[in-house]
């Protein structure tokens, strides 16, 4: 899930950047706050953010400015969020995006309508 972080926080944390606790792929993860989800995950040792829909190849943030869409993850049930554009919040539930996005969960949706797995 996580390994040796590729990036580290240089400056001593200010209050706004204090450690917060999130979930990544259902595992608790402590990350520095006051930054984008992508920056927080990179500093916490997440290297693989998603797998491509075509070949399942691992991908991670490439541009950090909202252009490349390589940092797509699911955040609090919403798929295909650009993690470089979303500010990380305590308690966020984040999942790596595996292949094509699923339909967002909907309580009144007939489960059979989503049975084809996309």
């Amino acid at each position: 899930m996580t390994s040796k972080p590729l990036f580290k926080v240089l400056t001593p944390a200010t209050d706004a950047q204090a450690t917060i606790h999130i979930w990544f792929n259902d595992q608790p993860l402590s990350v520095p706050g006051g930054r984008s989800v992508a920056a927080a995950l990179l500093a916490a040792g997440v290297q693989r953010f998603r797998a491509t829909p075509v070949s399942g190849a691992p991908r991670a943030p490439y541009c950090m400015m909202g252009a490349c869409f390589e940092c797509l993850v699911e955040i609090d049930g919403m798929p295909s969020r650009q993690s470089c554009l979303v500010t990380v919040k305590d308690g966020m539930r984040i999942h790596s995006q595996e292949g094509a996005r699923d339909l967002p969960p909907s309580s009144d949706m007939n489960p059979l309508e989503n049975a084809h797995g996309r």
Binding site: L6, G66, F69, L85
Partner: protein, 464 residues
Amino acid sequence: MAADTVDVAVIGAGPAGLAAATQAARAGLSVVLLDEQEAVGGQIYRAIERSDAQRREILGPDYAAGAALASEFARSGARYVPNASVWQVTRERSVHYLKDGKVSSFEARRVVLATGALERPFPIPGWTLPGVMTAGAAQILLKSAGEVPAEPPILVGCGPLLYLLGWQYVRAGVPIRALVDTTRHEDRWRAKRHMLSALRAWPYLSKGLQLMRTLRDAGVAMHEAADELRVESGIDEDGSERARALNFSVRGVSHRIEANVILLHQGVVPNTQFTHSLRASHKWDEAQLCFAPLTDQWGELDVPGIFVAGDGGGIGGAQAAETQGEVTALAIAAQLGAIDTAARNRSAAPLLRRLAEVMRIRPFLDSLYRPRDENRMPKDEVIVCRCEEVTAGELRSFVKLGCLGPNQAKSFGRCGMGPCQGRLCGLTVTEVIADARSVPPETVGYYRIRPPIKPLTLGELAGE
């Protein structure tokens, strides 16, 4: 749908957008500035209002200069809408955006597109691996989050931003494994004919020389004239594939350097998503190897009432962008009757002179840091379209089957049809097809960009 109308909508809060919005508001016009980030500054002055003295010290005086621009904007009376993804601007100047999951729209009498630049695609083997990112991305991590590579990175390519990042890492005490430069002796030779005009932009030139000296003095391993770049993959502790080393050769001698962070850069190009979606006329700029929209001296497109300011109209850098923003605001103020033409011309004259001055360095830079053919039109096995994983070889096989341009490449093999909407492959696809057909890039053209410029769900769209 809201029936609001404003005088000026500005899209993008970098130097051009901030300057345009500030000046237009000062002229008494109602101004709304929309930006995708959570704070002003664009990428060049990213997180400028949050950065402390230490971070500004690391990033240098050119970055700190953005603080004045940001505070002038804050006092200007222009309305600021952060976290707003503008997904459509129509030729009739309706502006549609998504913010906090809700879509909104309004009408603007004039629109300023200040959407800046993107880093040029750098398609080499292994460029899609985790651990490989752009130098700009690494710089954004430093500016916005104070993050630096945990282990010494390799900086690869050419161009001012690459050396600036190295300089900033040295100042931050971050060791650099190597700077692998693709610039060759003949590039320096070619650039020499622009030296005279470059010398007239001496402050810029001397800054550049100082950056390089700092890197040398810090003992950064420098490799020049590198070609045959290839990122080698390794398997991580958790079983996932990632970058492990950079392979390259210098004058036939092979090199291999290990690193888990490899930072690529070979210049920036205009972000033309909006101007292309508006069907404005564009030209192929052979010096900058990119498409740029055609504008008059005020930045107005051949779509009346819609202007471009800053790098989105052609790469000129932050100072040029800020000046263009001011010039554009003057033109709009005159069109809307806030000032008369004589006042516009009087105020614009010194700005246009300054613009010409800061642009003097460009022919030299464009010539010296012209990205290598092999790093723009890669070998067959290299992925060109990252989203749909289409290789250069597949693209060339489409051409053999009769594919004439980027739009047909979509139907041949989904090239450019992923979520990035061609931002990361558009120029590569144009050049590879042009090269395979032996015609100029202008003949081949660019993707037909359609709204939504940023993806949004049908549910969000239905909310309007």
